[in-house]
């Protein structure tokens, strides 16, 4: 009945390493140590900074378009459609004469905004469900985890399609649609952590001095699952940008004329023969952003959860 992998090896190792740590340098909090490890990872930090820059550009989009590109994202100019990259349109124009760079910058608002909102929603819902299921156990756990199983068993893309038809997505509903599947994985993860943290002595000690359920969950369990959450969040952003872009591309996400990186590619196939830049630029933008998110996510994982490396 026992699963392999529950060997006592980790229990033996732990005291030794804390002893060594205490002997060689002053004690550091887990968070300090993780931050130091993250900062030491140059590539990871570079990727993180790139994300921050992209985010800043997206937030300051009106400034950039006013002083750099000099075009409005929705202004049509039917006299200058399909302009190749160069002057005055740095990255060319699309079939309606809209400036590609301007639309990319504004698209970043949508794509990054949806991604971060989705991660936030998934984490909030998933953590709540995972904490409750793991803490209360028994039938609460059974019911909640069956729900999670169900959600994760629907082929996600099917669910996205059905819900997109239902909600006619704007950025906020689109984030809710993607998060409606994303929370399931988080819930499983958090529940697993809670199950193991729950066994530790400090929980019993806290309970024995009269702490209530809510206090135990919020003040004692939650901080212990935070590292897992941070890792899940930083690894999730890239995947969500990809999902969002795919939905936009299929015409199920952000609807034109609002620009998003995905829906800028919807019609690209029709212009293969004369305007390839319309295919290149949005794709490259998605690729670089997701790449940076993934690299940063990996760095965060290595820093916050050295066991997983």
């Amino acid at each position: 009945m026992s699963m392999l992998g529950q060997t006592p090896a980790t229990e033996i190792e732990a005291p030794i390493s804390t002893f060594e740590g205490a002997a060689t340098r002053p004690a550091q909090s887990y968070w300090n140590e993780s931050w130091e490890r993250l900062r030491a990872n140059r590539i990871g930090m570079g990727a993180g900074i790139l994300i921050v820059i992209l985010g800043a550009i997206a937030i300051a989009a009106p400034l950039f378009t006013q002083f750099l590109t000099h075009y409005e994202p929705y202004r049509l100019d039917l006299l200058s459609t399909f302009q190749p990259p160069g002057q005055p349109h740095l990255l060319g124009t699309d079939e309606l004469g809209r400036d590609t760079l301007t639309r990319l910058i504004y698209g970043g608002r949508v794509s990054l905004g949806v991604a971060f909102l989705t991660v936030g929603l998934s984490l909030t819902l998933g953590t709540t469900v995972g904490l409750v299921a793991g803490y209360y156990g028994r039938w609460v756990d059974d019911i909640l985890m069956r729900i999670v199983d169900t959600v994760l068993s629907i082929p996600a893309i099917f669910l996205f399609i059905l819900m997109s038809i239902l909600f006619r997505p704007n950025p906020i509903t689109l984030a809710m649609i993607i998060a409606s599947v994303g929370w399931g994985g988080v819930a499983r993860l958090v529940r697993g952590e809670v199950l193991s943290v729950k066994q530790r002595d400090f929980i019993m000690a806290t309970r024995s001095i009269g702490a209530r359920d809510l206090r135990l969950i919020a003040i004692h369990l939650l901080p212990n699952v935070l590292p897992v959450l941070i890792v899940a969040a930083s690894l999730g952003v890239g995947q969500i940008i990809l999902i969002e872009a795919a939905l936009d591309f299929l015409g199920l996400g952000i609807q034109p004329p609002t620009a998003s990186w995905g829906n800028m590619l919807t019609n690209a196939q029709s212009y293969f023969f004369h305007s390839v830049w319309l295919v290149y630029f949005p794709g490259v933008t998605i690729f670089i952003t997701v790449l940076a998110s993934n690299v940063f996510g990996n760095a965060v994982r290595d820093a916050f959860d050295p066991r997983l490396k």
């Binding site: 069956r146 729900i147 629907i154 082929p155």
Partner: protein, 323 residues
Amino acid sequence: MLVKYLVRRLFASVVVVLGVTAITLVLMDRTRGTYVPGIDLNPNLRPDDIERLRANLGLDRPFYVWYITWLWNVLHGDFGRSMIDGSPVMSHILDRLPNTLELTATAILMGVLLSIPLGVIGALRRGSKVDHGLTVVSVAGFAVPQFWLGLLLILFFSVTFEQHGWPWLPSSGATSPLGGGDILDRLQHLIMPATVLSFFYLSLWSRFTRSSMLEVLSQDYIRTARAKGMGERRVVYLHGLRNALIPLITLVGLELPGLVSGGLVVEVVFGWPGIGRLLFERALQYDYSTVMGVTFFATLLVIAGNLLADVLYAVLDPRIRYA
């Protein structure tokens, strides 16, 4: 023990299938409003015609009645008829399924066959240029949007090649519309979508094989094998790889559900007449019965894939016991 485990899993699966189909139906029902599938096929319908149409399709009853009727019929092997064209849903599924399986099975096979050697090379030459190169490729594989990769391949191998007068690959469909259908023709259509699909698997599995291999090679029994003088090749492939591949099987098993739904985006980009595109198109037209049929089918595959992965895992690794 195994039987008890299977029975419990089976019971849980029934709950999941009921949940998934119910959610699907509720979503569609909430979405549709007063729309009747097929209504826009004939502009001359009078109100009482529309009422009759609704009654015929069973849409005048509450959705839970529709659901129970549907479930009852499915239990008797009847998936009903499409609300758009009236042909049996099962014939639609059977019509599209071989195409989808051809595409996804090829992609998974390509992924497995390429990722295992690449992962092993990465692990054996850890830190070398080859290893770094493979890492870069797989990191890129995670970050590239599938539909965009598809567009790029079409751009190069169909459009640019044709413009230069080189032999080019067809950009859409599973066979040529005229006189196609022989093996060579199918392969030509298959190669691009399958490559796009397998690229992601390749990234995922080669990473996984590499780390799994590294872990196994640091185990005591490998040291023992080396210590007793066994040849390196035998150590790596007989003792190392065999153990390293066990967790990979779970991972591949988890992709089995993707056999039906995983290729949806690729099917749309390449105009592949598969089951994912069928669902995509029919969902947009509120073809209840077809969408329900496909969802039911896909969910069964998800469950079967997970179960198969778990069972295979235990069969291949006697250390695992069912709890």
